[in-house]
């Protein structure tokens, strides 16, 4: 039973974004066995040692633990006191007594002593006011109906009722029924206790819903956010967190491989020369040092209203991975073009979002002229482009029937290592209407649609791999 509680707790932890592996779950079981359940604070410390493996995780763990193990403070469902109940006048009874009179008449207790003996188990428990026992029953009932399956908020009433059924609601109702019929004053106090129990059950269901549905909800939400079109994404408040999470994953992935790639291949010439000293036995191996590449990155973003959302996320994403990316120069254009690198340098890592907003508002406009943009970029950066340069252009290539000036893109592609194009429109729309995308395609090493975060992540990942 204890193990099941732990399993559920771990499920809740995963919902709170703490990665717990199966091996760690097993550790937790062992740890709990050693420490025991008597000392709550110590159990918390001990489980935290086994399950939360970084400082942020530990903070989340503590919150989650407190939420989860709250029901050890037993719910107050006992009747106020037997004295009060006895003092109640028997006349103040429910109208429902009339219905029950026929059905329960025979079984109804005639005397106080008798009815107490004949009462339901749950009823006795409530009358005794044994809160610890009641809490245990509730936990057992919660497991029996498996509250972890609750996914939609409207199911809460249903689950609460099922829980009470598992605790023996039927027998209790029967008892209240009979007591009422017999005009026993205890009916009233039992009824109050039953209501309190119902409230406690609902509260328990609520809590479980928050704990468990959070897991599915969060996963669901992230999946939705990754797939939804970038244009609608700004409405999600926590999208920034998701972008950071995705970026962190990429950074740790690519930061690591960089270390491995430090040593190059065997330098046969130097190894042979060195071996002469040892009777031509190659005892010392020499390696070619891998020449550090210094890639340059140029990002040109269309910020006209139709594409601004995509530009926004590309810029956010690139700043989030700036740990592993080389120096980036960024440009923005709509009706006019300009360099915005300094906006980001001035803002620093904390002000990225503000910097992006500033870029978007200052360069916003309509009537994009791609030809003009390419010409501007060529003028500005011709001398800086070399075989290490990657030029990324984000835009829909809808040129308002102006000349495409693909020869400028050809020059840029010729001079640099590669041109990559991100288009917020799907491939099937490239070339439709005023889109000049097909004219640019031959000069792009890769062109891909970027309509949602998943596609954007895939692009940035490929870019990082390529940069090494």
């Amino acid at each position: 039973m204890a193990t099941q509680v732990l399993t559920e707790f771990i499920k809740a932890l995963r919902g709170a974004d703490i990665n717990v592996s199966t091996a760690e779950s097993l550790d937790a079981v062992q740890v709990a066995e050693k420490i025991g359940y008597a000392d709550r604070a110590r159990l918390r410390t001990a489980l935290s040692l086994a399950l939360a493996k970084s400082v942020p995780d530990k903070m989340r763990f503590e919150k989650c633990f407190d939420d989860f193990f709250r029901f050890t403070d037993a719910p107050q469902v006992s009747p106020p006191a037997s004295g009060t109940a006895a003092a109640m006048p028997p006349q103040q009874e429910d109208v429902s007594s009339g219905q029950g009179a026929g059905a329960a008449g025979g079984a109804g207790g005639s005397g106080d002593g008798e009815s107490a003996a004949a009462g339901s188990e749950l009823g006795q428990l409530l009358e005794r006011g044994d809160n610890a026992e009641i809490a245990q029953r509730m936990a057992a009932a919660a497991r029996q109906v498996d509250l972890t399956r609750i996914t939609v908020i409207t199911q809460k009433g249903l689950f609460a009722r099922r829980m009470m059924m598992a605790m023996g609601l039927e027998a209790l109702d029967q008892e209240i029924f009979q007591l009422t019929a017999a005009r026993d004053p205890r009916a009233l106090s039992l009824r109050a206790a039953r209501n309190a129990l119902r409230e406690a059950s609902i509260e328990e269901v609520n809590r479980q819903f928050l704990l468990h549905a959070r897991e599915t909800r969060q996963q669901l939400r992230e999946e939705v956010m990754r797939e939804v079109s970038l244009r609608d994404l700004a409405e999600f408040r926590d999208v920034r967190l998701l972008v950071e999470k995705m970026a962190r994953r990429l950074v740790s992935l690519h930061g690591r491989q960089k270390r491995r790639a430090r040593r190059g291949v065997l330098d046969a010439r130097r190894t042979l020369v060195a071996s002469v000293r040892h009777d031509a036995l190659p005892t010392e191996l020499h390696w070619k040092a891998r020449r550090p590449r210094k890639p340059k990155l140029f990002v040109i973003c269309d910020v006209s209203s139709s594409v601004a959302a995509a530009s926004r996320f590309l810029l956010l994403f690139l700043s989030a991975v700036n740990e592993v990316l080389p120096r980036v120069r960024s440009f923005a254009f709509a009706s006019r073009t300009g360099e915005v690198t300094d906006y980001f340098n001035e803002a620093g890592p904390s002000g990225v979002e503000a910097a992006v907003d500033r870029v978007l508002s200052e360069y916003a406009g309509s009537g994009t002229d791609y030809g003009e943009m390419l010409a501007y970029f060529w003028r500005q950066c011709e001398s800086n482009l070399d075989r290490q340069s990657t030029v990324i252009i984000l835009g829909d290539a809808r040129n308002n029937d102006l000349p495409a000036a693909q020869q400028d893109l050809a020059r840029i592609a010729e001079r640099s290592r590669q041109v990559l194009w991100l288009n917020p429109e799907g491939r099937n729309r490239w070339g439709s209407g005023d889109s000049v995308m097909p004219m640019y395609l031959p000069y792009c090493r890769r062109a891909m649609p970027c309509r949602n975060l998943n596609q954007l992540e895939r692009f940035v990942e490929a870019l990082l791999r390529d940069m090494k």
Binding site: D27, V31, K34, A46, L49, S54, R260
Partner: protein
Amino acid sequence: MKTRIASVDEVRESFKGQGYICNDEIATAVFLAAQLRKPILVEGPPGVGKTELAKASAAFLEAPLIRLQCYEGLDEAKALYEWKYGKQLLYTQLLKERLGDLLGDAVTLEECMARLSGFGDAFYAETFLEPRPLLQALRSEEAPVLLIDEIDKADQEFEAFLLELLSDYQISIPELGTVTARTEPLVFLTSNNTRELSDALKRRCLHLYIPFPDMRLEQQIIAARVPEVAEGLRKQLTLFVSRLRDMDLKKQPAISETIDWARALVLMHADVLSPATVDATLRLLLKHEEDMVTVRGEIHRLLKD
């Protein structure tokens, strides 16, 4: 090694007896690690007593302490084992004639090879093996406490190499096969968090984070380590240090620095913290010139009650 530990409090009391004052979390971690034979990964800012914890644990468990200091470029040859090349060479030279005798009547190359292989891998036997800390720990007769210090300084590859040791207490050596621990060591890994450790490593360990102690705990530590300091001064100096830690400094003073400072104050016969004494001894707490400048201007404010 002591195998029976009654409770978390026993650990705590023993540590206290050694002058290592700790909170419940640290004691629980050591208790669990010793009971479950799981490695502990200890993280925290420099100078909070991570290495000290391993030493105290070794003393508590009456076990020998084997220490491996990590650094960039640390490899198996330095951490696990190495062949004694010099000895191998010397032996081959000395045995040259004997070898000549043995091979004397063998005519063909095949025959010589067959004879040689008949001797087995004499030169790759245990006699020529130089055990380094990790192998020492595995081959120790008595279960030791193995301290792998500052694992974050070692390379990623080394971390991966440790995984087998941490989960199964065994290590594979190509020439010898798998070496399994005679007695399972209690492993402490410490990290200053200069880089993120891999999930695989974290998964195999209990994770203990030691933050800077709160004022009450730090007072107890000072009382245990520098008993000469009077109570009033003790309170004053821990308050001062905890305020320093709230400031935006390049390097925050650690416990070890508070202890040094307390010792210095005792030597100077200071009974109370005055701006002048603080100013004169500040260098013991702060290790950067910029920090000194920042704090000097604030001494009066920091000393206020």
